[in-house]
Amino acid sequence: MNFGLSDEQGLLQDAIRGFLEEQTPLDSIREFAADGNGLQAEIWQGLIELGATGVIIPEQFGGSALGMFDATVIMEAIGRTVAPVPYISTAVLAPIALLGSGSDAQQQDWLNKISAGDVMFGVGLTEATGVRRDAGLKLVGSKLSGKALFVIDGLKADQLILAVGSDTLVMVDANAMGLTRNRLNVSDKTRGMAEVLLDQADCELIGAAGSAAQTISKMIDAGRIGLAAESFGAAEILLYRARDYALERNQFERPIGSFQSIKHLCAEMISDLEPCRSLIWYAAYAYDELPEEASLMACHAKANTQEVGKMVARSATEIHGGMGFTDLMGLHYWLKRIELNRQLLGGPEATREAAARLQGLVA
């Protein structure tokens, strides 16, 4: 038994963290955010070269057939560095869609491309997790019309995978006739969130219409685990930056970290965060090995980590005093990633209600 990273997973973590940390000094993050399209091509390329896009893809399609746990290790590293890369959509959600419901030809074609880093996906699942305002998609034959909001990593993607209702999946070329996409001005500028307008755009079904409910539900599980891992990574950075700042900044002739209220905020942060790490790891492990537990664990991992993440973001900002409120410190990039992730694929209340439903507690 080993509740933690295997030696190989440890090496993967070191490699990905090492690479991403090198690529994301604060000044660079600021530049990426100015673009606001959620893609930094060099970083993405680096991840491809490290084999990161193929971790959940079977070997026959050029992947390394590791699993969701390994992908989670990578997403945690992405959260730590708020790296602007379409990883969760391209390397996690799209492969799950294709493996779960795609035809042999679709799998052959797209999975190989994902492993090789030749395609970027955007994924929109709000039809299955919560529709806002006038969003809504309508599929007639192979023509897709309507509006999809909050398509994750949708701004720079080559292909979009969209849920139509909660049981149908389609894939549409981002440059198809009749498709326009617009940037949604979310506060987190390191992730490209798109509004996608469709007017009789040609699309391809992934599985027959009405047959993809289970696949969509797996995508939601994996997405929740991945977002939780990212938020965890971001929150952990915030905690240690706050701790470091508290040891460095002096007031009243002593480091502010010697004030008990500051020590206690830090103790609360680590006490609430450490169990999240265990919960996320377990949820990812369950996704790979204990499928009957995966949905419930994904709900709790997401809800709990997002509550804790918010508390950590607040406390860490507070510990930095006025500096915490400035762009100079840059803490806000991590805070905003946590805030966006909190809302994606169901906020805490929605995921907890889903957890209750899974246990038969909702009449």
Binding site: G257, S271, N304, R352, L361
Partner: protein, 407 residues
């Protein structure tokens, strides 16, 4: 990450299950043993004996001291816990003697002390209490004043202890006393083993907020015990006590217990109604329940990770402090929700006719013990920030004659 157990361990699980099946009918339940506030009954002692013989408690304690003599195997320990809890069968006696004194003696006691005390203690024949806290020495335990002076071949003890749980039915007390009044605070303390029948000990029960008298004041007047009744050296008591406290913290935070509480809460929420609507059907309460479940799962899995880290020899000690600190508040909130879903009914306790099957009000009141006992939550946070995050220790201040810090 690999949570599968080896074949040997799965085989061991089957063995435990078979044992439980055979004994379930005659075994005491979890609550019947843990929930007592009196010396163990003959029934409980009989069960304890069976457990030791089969290696389900006192598993790693050497045979020569009355234990089972099994090799240390954390996974087997975990399997025993899991299976016994699932079957609601008692894993045996806990209490301060077994959980705190015995590991301390095994680590630091003399051969004679181990021979004399370990066996009878684990069999429930000798019950211990912990004489640490004093009216003036709580969080700041090292400031304790109860003193012992050597006269001939005896320690003569004078002073007062407080909050001494179980003292009213204990046979023995492991007690901290000041033996070197001139040494610095932490270096003047000794750890003694004191029979509760010694003349000069007066135990007065203190009624707690639950209405029970589970702890006591203990007055010590010229209490004489042999000079050999000391663990380790004179002046080394603080170090010995810290070995003990380490074991206590593990004892106080047990997510498996919290999980049992949460399951009871779920059951309660399916049964209790207001205006004919079940609590679980009211989204506001349901959301609170799910929040608690998420936190519980986090803590439970965190404990499993710690166990695994222990196996790999890399468990940080603040990991366990987090469990103690967090599960105390979590228990408190689980009971609070139990009361809230019952509304006015939730305030009933001690056997009112309208009360539900479990005494939620009393459990709620009792949960303060976990937040305060064994080091308060605030003290835990000090230690977590210092050991877990490398933050500065609390400053020592000099006070002026009004008690204000001098700058």
């Amino acid at each position: 990450m690999d949570l599968k157990f080896s074949e040997e361990h799965e085989g061991f699980r089957k063995q435990v299950q078979a044992f439980l099946k055979e004994h379930k009918a005659t075994a005491p339940t979890m609550k019947a043993v843990n929930g007592t506030s009196a010396a163990p009954t003959p029934e409980v002692k009989r069960w304890q004996k069976i457990l030791i013989e089969n290696g389900y408690t006192a598993r790693t304690i050497p045979k020569e001291y009355g234990g089972y003599g099994g090799e240390a195997d954390l996974i087997k320990g975990l399997i025993i816990q899991e299976e016994f809890i699932a079957a609601d069968v008692s894993t045996g006696l806990t209490g301060q003697g077994i959980s705190m004194l015995v590991p301390t003696l095994l680590e630091l006691g003399t051969e004679e002390q181990k021979q004399k005390w370990v066996g009878p203690t684990i069999r429930g024949e000798v019950v211990w209490c912990q004489g640490y806290s004093e009216p003036g020495a709580g969080s700041d335990l090292a400031s304790l004043k109860t003193k012992a002076v050597v006269e001939g071949d005896q320690f003569v003890i004078n002073g007062q202890k407080i909050w001494t749980s179980s003292a009213h039915f204990s046979d023995m007390c492991f007690i901290l006393v000041r033996t070197e009044p001139d040494a610095p605070k932490h270096h003047g303390i000794s750890y003694l083993l004191m029979p509760m029948t010694t003349p000069g000990i007066e135990v007065r029960p203190l009624v707690t907020i639950t209405g029970d008298a589970m702890f006591n004041e203990m007055f010590l007047t010229d209490v004489k015990i042999g000079v050999d009744q000391i663990v380790d050296q004179r002046g080394k008591g603080w170090m010995v006590a810290n070995a003990t406290l380490k074991h206590e913290r593990g004892m106080i935070g047990n997510p498996a217990q919290t999980e049992a509480n949460l399951n009871a809460l779920m059951k309660l929420m399916k049964a209790e109604t207001c205006d004919g609507i079940r609590a679980v059907d009211m989204p506001v309460y349901r959301d609170r329940l799910m929040r608690l479940q998420g936190r519980l799962l986090g803590l439970k899995l965190h404990s499993l990770r710690l166990l695994s880290d222990d196996l790999n020899g890399k468990a940080p000690d603040h990991g366990g402090l987090i469990v103690k600190y967090s599960s105390a508040y979590l228990n408190h909130e689980v009971y609070s929700l139990g009361i809230d879903v019952m509304g006015e009914l939730g305030t009933l306790y001690n056997g009112d006719a309208y009360q539900s099957e479990l005494d939620w009000q009393k459990m709620y009141l009792g949960s303060f013990a976990g937040i305060i006992g064994g080091g308060t939550a605030q003290i835990q946070k000090n230690v977590i920030s210092e050991r877990g995050l490398g933050m500065p220790r609390e400053p020592r201040v000099t006070l002026d004659n009004k008690g204000w810090a001098m700058m």
